[in-house]
């Protein structure tokens, strides 16, 4: 028996999407920071080619990604205590959020704003293609999953609108 009242049907679906999407975004940013900045040292903290708008975008996304990771997990805990977690829908949304942010990072931040490159090697194009193709695949896979999963997977079927 859930300790909290059920959400209205439309909000329940939106909340699953929002929570998943925020988690995907936060997770990609976290991997970017720990793996590519700290462990591999491929990314640079700052390279002298960065534009001012690139710095602003990095600052905003860096601060927002911590918020996204944390609030999405609290939203997930909330969905679970209401027994309204639609797992496939949430995972699909997470893939979409991850893909969308990685595409933004790979195309806009790395290339357009020249925040920093993926790796400081001559054949950077290979890295860029793999990076952005992987992002696009995540985005598409997420969209397909969301379309194929019934919106009310774990919810009350009678509440379907």
């Amino acid at each position: 028996m859930p300790t909290h009242a059920p959400l209205p049907s439309s909000r329940r679906q939106d909340r699953n999407l929002l929570s998943g999407c925020l988690f995907g975004l936060g997770f990609v940013a976290f991997v970017d920071e720990t793996v590519f900045h700290q462990l591999l040292h491929w990314h640079h903290f700052y390279d002298k080619a960065t534009s001012n708008i690139g710095l602003a975008s990095d600052g905003l996304f860096h601060a927002f990604s911590w918020f996204a990771t944390i609030i999405s997990l609290f939203q997930l805990a909330d969905l679970r205590r209401r027994e309204e977690w639609n797992k496939p829908r949430w995972l699909g949304a997470a893939l979409m959020g991850a893909g969308a942010f990685q595409l933004y990072d790979g195309l806009i931040q790395h290339k357009l704003m020249r925040l920093h490159q993926i790796r400081y090697v001559p054949d950077i194009a290979v890295y860029d293609i793999v990076w952005n193709a992987f992002a696009a695949v995540m985005l598409l896979a997420g969209a397909v999953i969301i379309r194929r999963v019934p919106a009310e997977r774990y919810g009350d079927p009678g509440a379907e609108q």
């Binding site: 909290h4 903290f45 990095d58 601060a63 609290f74």
Partner: protein
């Protein structure tokens, strides 16, 4: 004596006997003593409050206050103890402690609540009236705290103030009192631990927290690229990273507290008649 900013910081780092270093040493000691006196003042107020109320003032709050004051005093005298080569990194550690960690501790020490409890009833009543004035609503808006905090950081590092404060003892003291105070205002308005504060809502508080942390991060990377006058590039690069990631630790802590508060708030769907006030 007026020297160029480059001379001022260079002398600070290399010649302990120069006038600016002596100023800094004297002011640092005075600041540390002032923070210790504030610790005694808090303890005196706790005694007064405990005489008036049967329920004793929580020891955890006292602990937060004394820890905060010890940290503040410690970061003020740290330049005297650690005379390493990287003066700017040392300053940055003190700045992170004074501007972010100390305020977090002070918020949980609830000094305003303690004042209300320990002051004589008529004085406490007029103090409460003061806190309930419309202008206080504006002052405790998270936007005000965020703008004051980020604005003063940019002023300190992006004007000649950083070099000037090592020459003028008054400026040095002001900066080292202003940052904990401004940090307290912002942290208190974001966490709203004190119930007398106007509730500007979760979205407002989280939004201004993100904006303020973004401003902090952007400034850190800016300092990495172009350090304040007189700070060598290698010192600035190390200190900028520390500022960037140290800021993250505090941001994560604040977001966790905010989300935790929201998660445990009464279920609005179940008890729609109960308001947060």
């Amino acid at each position: 004596m007026i020297t160029s900013p480059t001379d001022a910081t260079a002398s600070l780092h290399h010649h302990a006997q120069s006038t600016s270093a002596v100023h800094v040493a004297q002011v640092s000691l005075m600041l540390a003593i002032a923070y210790f006196l504030l610790s005694f003042a808090y303890a005196a107020l706790v005694l007064a409050a405990n005489r008036k109320y049967a329920k004793p003032w929580p020891a955890s709050r006292s602990l937060c206050w004394h820890a905060g004051m010890t940290l503040a005093a410690g970061s003020c005298v740290s330049p005297l103890i650690f005379q390493g080569s990287n003066g700017f990194a040392r300053h940055m550690v003190a700045h992170l402690l004074l501007g972010m960690f100390v305020p977090l501790l002070l918020v949980y020490a609830a000094p305003v609540t303690l004042l209300l409890r320990s002051l004589p009833a008529p004085v406490a009543r007029s103090f409460m009236r003061l806190l309930k004035r419309p202008v206080m609503r504006i002052i405790v808006h998270p936007a005000v705290g965020a703008i004051v905090n980020v604005g003063s950081m940019w002023t300190l590092y992006r004007t000649s103030l950083y070099a000037a404060m090592h020459e003028l003892p008054v400026l040095y003291a002001t900066v080292h009192v202003h940052f904990p105070a401004a940090g307290y205002l912002f942290t208190a308005s974001v966490l709203r631990h004190d119930r007398w504060m106007h509730d500007w809502g979760f979205c407002n508080r989280i939004f201004w927290l993100i904006i303020s942390m973004a401003g902090h991060g952007i400034l850190s990377k800016g300092l990495f690229a172009s350090p304040p006058a007189g700070v060598p590039a290698d010192q600035a690069e190390f200190a900028a990273r520390m500022m960037y990631y140290g800021g993250d630790v505090v941001e994560i802590t604040l977001i966790l507290i905010l989300c935790y508060q929201r998660y445990h708030a009464p279920d609005r769907l179940k008890q729609s008649s109960v308001t947060s006030a």
